[in-house]
Structure formats: structure tokens, C-alpha cells
């Protein structure tokens, strides 16, 4: 098993698509920095000249406006929609490509289907999660170049509502909270990347396979919306549905209090393991 995992990770980290996904993440980071600069300029012009008002007293901080926290910026909106694609891009299409090319035959006859599947699953999970976690971490660090990282006081501005993901830790140690959040992003991204096991071998292009997680989440949203009827259109024009899985990357989304995201991760992992196992280990495509 160790050799199978080592080989899969070697292939994953030498895959050009991993670097393409990281480049996509870098674009989000750059847009995020630009958003912060624009924000900063607007904020400063509003605050200056007002008696007794300072940037700090107005809660102008990295931990309010950086990508992981700000839900209204362009970069946050962009990330909200492309994260499943970014997660799937690095290695999600490798199973389908290997199956179609015949590399699969060479590998499974040497190590067996089960080892192949679990090594592949792990590589897809880790690369998908790593790309998203790295994007968010890089955005936070890059945004820190243009924003002051003042500690937020709970009485000053409510960034994370009570009951949100580790909200107490956020007000005590925001950096530690950010680390924990990146861990959560890693799990979410990894599990979303594994949704590519729902793809079928008829999909020839890696681009189509990489879109599968987004498509599944999009359809799930539509179904949940239809069932629950909770669709809300805010006056900001941003469609925010209570059960919109795409919004799971919003740190303070009301639909995902506390560790509820872990439940979503668990559901996706269970579903993808089951489908992947049937597809790779049990199912005969011939």
C-alpha cells in the first residue's frame, strides 16, 4: 500500500494540472489583494476627518476584510464559485484518464484494485484540499501586506457570530483560528475533489471531469432549494441560499454553524468512497 501511495503522490505532484490549479488560486489571491487595496482607500477617505474615529476603532483589519472573512468582495464571490473546480483540477481527472488510456490495466494487475483505489482517493483528496487551503492561506498572508492585522474585539465588530466556526478562538487568537480554518478548508476541498469519482469514463477531457464536483454541488443546491424553499435574494443582489453548498467556504455563513461543515465533509467522503469503490473496485465497465 505504501508503494502505491508513494507512486500516486509522485504522479500527483508532477502533474501540470496541479500547477495550473495553484496558478488559478494565485489569481484569486491577486484579486483579493486588489480588493483590499480598493477597500482601504475607500475606508480611509470615509474615516479621515471624522472626530474620534480611527481605522482601528472602525474595525478595519485583516481579520475582517481578507479573503477568508469578507463575503462581499469580488474575490470572495469568485472563490465561492470556483472552489470545487480548483479542488478537482489538480488530480481529480487522473482516474478517468488512466482508465481510458489503459495505464489503469498496468497498475491494477500489479497492485490490485483496492490498493489502487485507496491510493488514488488519498492523492485526489490531499491535492484538492491542499490547493484550496494554500489559496486561502496565501490570500491571508498577501492581504496582510496591505491591511493592518489588528485583533478584533467582539464588542467592536461582529465578524464571526456566536456559534460560528470556532468563534471564541477567533476573538482570542485570530491567527490560530485562521490555521484551524485552513484545516477545515483542506477537508472541504479534499472531499469535493473526490466528487470526481462520480464522473464516468465517457468523459474524455480533464476539463469536463474537473467540472463534475461543481455540477454535483450546483444540482444539489437546486434540489435542496426546491425541497426546502429557502432561497433568499438579498438586496445586495447576491443569491444566498441557506443550504447552498457553494457558500460553505464562507467562514460565517449562517447555514454552517460550529463544526457542521464536518458533517458535510463526512457525507461527501462517505458518498465518494462508496461510489468510487463501486466504480473502481467492483464495477466492470466492460
Amino acid at each position: 500500500m505504501r508503494k502505491a501511495i508513494k507512486t500516486e503522490f509522485w504522479k500527483a505532484f508532477h502533474n501540470p494540472l496541479l500547477w495550473l490549479a495553484l496558478a488559478g488560486g494565485a489569481v484569486v489571491v491577486i484579486i483579493s489583494v486588489r480588493d483590499c487595496i480598493v477597500h482601504f482607500a475607500e475606508w480611509k477617505s470615509r474615516v479621515y476627518g471624522s472626530a474620534g474615529v480611527s481605522l482601528r476603532s472602525e474595525g478595519y483589519s485583516l481579520f475582517v476584510f481578507a479573503l477568508p472573512y469578507d463575503r462581499h468582495s469580488f474575490s470572495a464571490g469568485l472563490f465561492r464559485y470556483i472552489w470545487p473546480i480548483l479542488a478537482a483540477m489538480p488530480y481529480g481527472s487522473s482516474y478517468i484518464q488512466e482508465r481510458r488510456s489503459g495505464v489503469y490495466n498496468q497498475v491494477v494487475t500489479r497492485i490490485g484494485r483496492k490498493k489502487y483505489f485507496f491510493a488514488k482517493y488519498l492523492a485526489v483528496f490531499v491535492t484538492g484540499g491542499a490547493v484550496l487551503a494554500l489559496t486561502q492561506a496565501a490570500a491571508l498572508l498577501a492581504d496582510a501586506m496591505v491591511l493592518p492585522y489588528w485583533k478584533i474585539h467582539v464588542t467592536l465588530i461582529e465578524v464571526l457570530t456566536n456559534g460560528a466556526f470556532l468563534s471564541e478562538l477567533f476573538y482570542e487568537n485570530a491567527w490560530l483560528h485562521a490555521l484551524a480554518w485552513f484545516g477545515m478548508v483542506f477537508l472541504l476541498g479534499g472531499s469535493a475533489a473526490c466528487l470526481t469519482f462520480f464522473a464516468w469514463t465517457g468523459l474524455r477531457l480533464w476539463t469536463l471531469v474537473s467540472i463534475v464536483p461543481f455540477a454535483i454541488i450546483f444540482v444539489t443546491n437546486a434540489v435542496l432549494d426546491r425541497i426546502t424553499g429557502t432561497g433568499i435574494i438579498h438586496n445586495t443582489g447576491i443569491i444566498r441560499k441557506a443550504f447552498n453548498v457553494l457558500n460553505i467556504m464562507e467562514i460565517n455563513h449562517p447555514a454552517y454553524p460550529g463544526f457542521s461543515r464536518l458533517l458535510v465533509v463526512g457525507v461527501i467522503v462517505a458518498a465518494t468512497l462508496a461510489v468510487g469503490y463501486i466504480q473502481v473496485v467492483k464495477h466492470e465497465l466492460d
Partner: protein
């Protein structure tokens, strides 16, 4: 090595691809399968490789049933349909990745296999830059590098020039003499006549032994 195919039928999407096939293969012999396109030659090799399971009947490898006792033959080298490798790496790196999975052979054996098929282990070109003939040769190298007990070759002469075919025949004889059981599917009757100890014709899913 003893391979037993007992009353095997294979149905795919309602079509019967193999019909009640019963065969036995032993180590140290070359078995040739000849037949037109779509006759079921590749399917037969895929069954023996464990890549698909029979709809009826059983395939036994040294008494162990494929799909029940074992998933794949314990020592198999195969070239089925097209040679398949990762396009972004050199031929040698591709073989190293495959060899690492089992850890049975090292750098020396990999280089030997590459030289045996007439390629250069130091060639820095990526697989995607290989010609069709070079790809086929690398496919043969991947199949033989671990000195398997069972060697399955489907149309191994595809894209090979005359010299390449001679090289392939010599390799197959060498593998047979080593004790491997070699199954070769080929539509070229002349090549099978030169190579095989037993020849079978495959016609519409039925397999019959043909006199040499």
C-alpha cells in the same frame, strides 16, 4: 504455472462475446490466438488477466479462481490493446513508476528490458514524443521487465517494422524458454506459425485448436 479456463462465456450488453470456452495453458509454451477483428481474442486475454470476469464459468490460475480467490494472476505481464503510459514522462521513468509498485525489479532490470526491445534507457524524450513503433516496444518492455510467469500480448507486432518483429519473436522465445506461459493474440497467421507451440482460432466467440 497452470491456467484453466472452464466453460467460460462472456456477455456484454446482451451480446455473447465468448461462448463456452474451455482451455488449458501451461508454463514454457507459447499459445497463439488467431482470428478476425472482433472475434473475441482480446476479451479472452482480458479474462485471463483478471481485468474482466466471466459471465459464466471460471478461470483458475494454479487452482485459484480469478475474481473469488485472487483478483489478478500473481505474476503477469501484459500488453493489451494499445501500450499505455503517462505521456509527460520518459519511457524509463514510466517503467520505473510501474516497477516501484511491486518492487521486484530495480534499475538494472528496467534498463535491460528497455535495451532488449531496442530502445535507449538514456533517451530523454517524453513518451508523447515517441513514434508508434517506439510506444509498442516500450509496451513490450513493460510486459517483460518483471520476468512474469504469465505473459499476455495482444497484437504485439502492431506498428513494428521487420526488425522489430524479429526482436519480438526472439523475446517471446526467450520468455518461453525461461518457463513463462505466453499467450499471443495476433491476426497475422505467419507470425503465429513461427512462434506458437499451439494455435487456436477464435471465431465469433468460439475457440478451436488448429493443427500446426
Amino acid at each position: 504455472m497452470l491456467i484453466e479456463i472452464n466453460d467460460v462465456s462472456k456477455k456484454i450488453k446482451g451480446a455473447l462475446i465468448l461462448k463456452h470456452v474451455t482451455l488449458q495453458f501451461k508454463g514454457g509454451l507459447v499459445y497463439g490466438f488467431q482470428g478476425p477483428n472482433g472475434s473475441g481474442k482480446t476479451m479472452l486475454l482480458r479474462l485471463v488477466a483478471g481485468l474482466i470476469l466471466p459471465t459464466e464459468g471460471e478461470v483458475l490460475i494454479d487452482g485459484a479462481r480469478l475474481g473469488r480467490d485472487i483478483d489478478f494472476p500473481p505474476s503477469v505481464g501484459l500488453l493489451i490493446e494499445n501500450p499505455a503510459f503517462l505521456p509527460g514522462y520518459t519511457g524509463k521513468r514510466n517503467l520505473e513508476l510501474l516497477a516501484d509498485l511491486r518492487g521486484r525489479v530495480g534499475d538494472r532490470e528496467i534498463c535491460e528490458a528497455i535495451c532488449d526491445v531496442g530502445l535507449d534507457p538514456e533517451d530523454k524524450r517524453k513518451y508523447r514524443k515517441y513514434s508508434l513503433g517506439m510506444k509498442q516496444r516500450l509496451g513490450v518492455a513493460a510486459a517483460i521487465m518483471e520476468k512474469p510467469d504469465l505473459l499476455l500480448l495482444d497484437e504485439p507486432t502492431n506498428a513494428l517494422d521487420e526488425k522489430g518483429v524479429e526482436m519480438l519473436c526472439a523475446l517471446i522465445r526467450r520468455e518461453r524458454d525461461r518457463g513463462a506461459c505466453v499467450l499471443v493474440a495476433c491476426h497475422d497467421r505467419e507470425i503465429l506459425d513461427r512462434l506458437a507451440d499451439e494455435i487456436y482460432t477464435v471465431q465469433e466467440g468460439c475457440v478451436e485448436r488448429r493443427p500446426l
